[in-house]
């Protein structure tokens, strides 16, 4: 499960990088990313950080759960 989540997280990064292969394309996510002075680049950066930290916190929480189970 963790592996799948990590895979989704990192493959979503390549999703952003695919903008290069098609120059001057004006549709979909690429268009959105370049609109409004490219502010959505900042938004995606914030989302990447948030996702990363939340995944990390979930991992810590799993560890705590395991310890709680042992304590009982």
């Amino acid at each position: 499960m963790k592996g799948i989540l990590l895979l989704v997280f990192f493959s979503s990064l390549f999703f952003y990088a695919t903008g290069q292969s098609a120059p001057l394309q004006n549709g979909g996510i690429d268009h959105l990313m370049r609109s409004n002075g490219r502010i959505f680049v900042v938004v995606s950066v914030m989302l990447v950080i948030l996702t990363g930290i939340i995944f990390y916190l979930i991992r810590i929480e799993r560890k705590i759960k395991r310890i709680e189970k042992d304590a009982v």
């Binding site: 990192f10 990064l13 952003y16 990088a17 903008g19 290069q20 120059p23 001057l24 990313m33 370049r34 409004n36 002075g37 490219r38 502010i39 680049v41 900042v42 995606s44 950066v45 914030m46 990447v48 950080i49 990363g52 930290i53 990390y56 916190l57 810590i60 560890k63 705590i64 310890i67 042992d70």
Partner: protein, 245 residues
């Protein structure tokens, strides 16, 4: 009445102990609010993406500060052989790597729409981005810290593991100097500010950005310390059980 004042005492002691967590929350809220809404200098290559200074760059600052904390505890372990410091050192390094990886991940997004953007007048090929000294330097630094965990995992004896990995931690921190502080300043780079202290040079970073940037660094670092403190508490608890068993 008595219960009421008791609660007050409890609350105030919690405030005294956890003031930095409140500060972290306040500073990060300010970062997100001001980071998106305050005025920034308009540069044609960057436009609004300049705001990533408060996110992407802060990841690296938090990483450096957490690695510094890690090496301080490694040295303290070597001086006192108190296993507590070994746990501190290990967890600070782990969260430092988290922030390093997040710095990389956010860098991928940012560069896709600035340096390596074919729609941009200042387009740079992927090959040129890959030659970026900061990318290579930080990759080496992060790999050295990953090696620290491989080393830890390979030694079963508690004291031996603590001692050897503390020494390795000092080495890893020393290698941060050439890889992320010296080499990127010597080689041609796409990153701005290599002539001085990147991001800290007051002539380099606009005053409008500094009022958000410095609080942002503190906020992100405190978040890292907060996560680290939770990890430390878990490890202290499990190790205690181990020692008792």
């Amino acid at each position: 009445m008595a219960a009421d004042s008791n609660l007050q005492v409890k609350l105030s002691s919690a405030m005294r102990k956890n003031w930095w967590k409140i500060m972290c929350t306040v500073l990060l809220s300010y970062t997100f609010f001001a980071g998106l809404l305050f005025n920034v200098p308009q540069l044609p290559q960057l436009e609004e993406t300049i705001r990533n200074l408060y996110f992407h760059v802060c990841m690296w600052f938090a990483m450096m500060i957490l690695f510094t904390a890690s090496v301080i505890y490694a040295v303290r372990y070597l001086r006192t052989t108190n296993i507590r410091f070994d746990i501190y050192s290990r967890q600070f390094a782990a969260v430092g790597i988290l922030f390093g990886v997040l710095g990389y991940a956010t860098g991928i997004v940012w560069m896709s729409y600035t340096w390596a953007d074919p729609n941009n007048a200042a387009f740079v090929s992927y090959g040129a981005v890959a030659k970026e000294p900061k990318l290579i330097g930080t990759a080496i630094a992060l790999l050295i810290y990953l090696a620290y965990f491989i080393l830890r995992g390979s030694i079963i004896d508690l004291d031996k593991r603590a001692r050897i990995s503390a020494v390795f931690n000092v080495l890893a921190f020393t290698l941060l100097f050439p890889t992320i502080w010296i080499l990127p300043r010597l080689l041609p780079s796409l990153h701005p500010g290599r002539e001085g202290n990147p991001a800290l040079n007051t002539n380099d970073v606009d005053a409008r950005m500094r009022i958000v940037f410095y609080p942002a660094i503190i906020g992100w670092t405190l978040l890292g310390v907060w996560i680290t403190s939770l990890k430390i508490r878990i490890t202290l608890y499990t190790d205690q059980k181990l020692l008792k068993a």
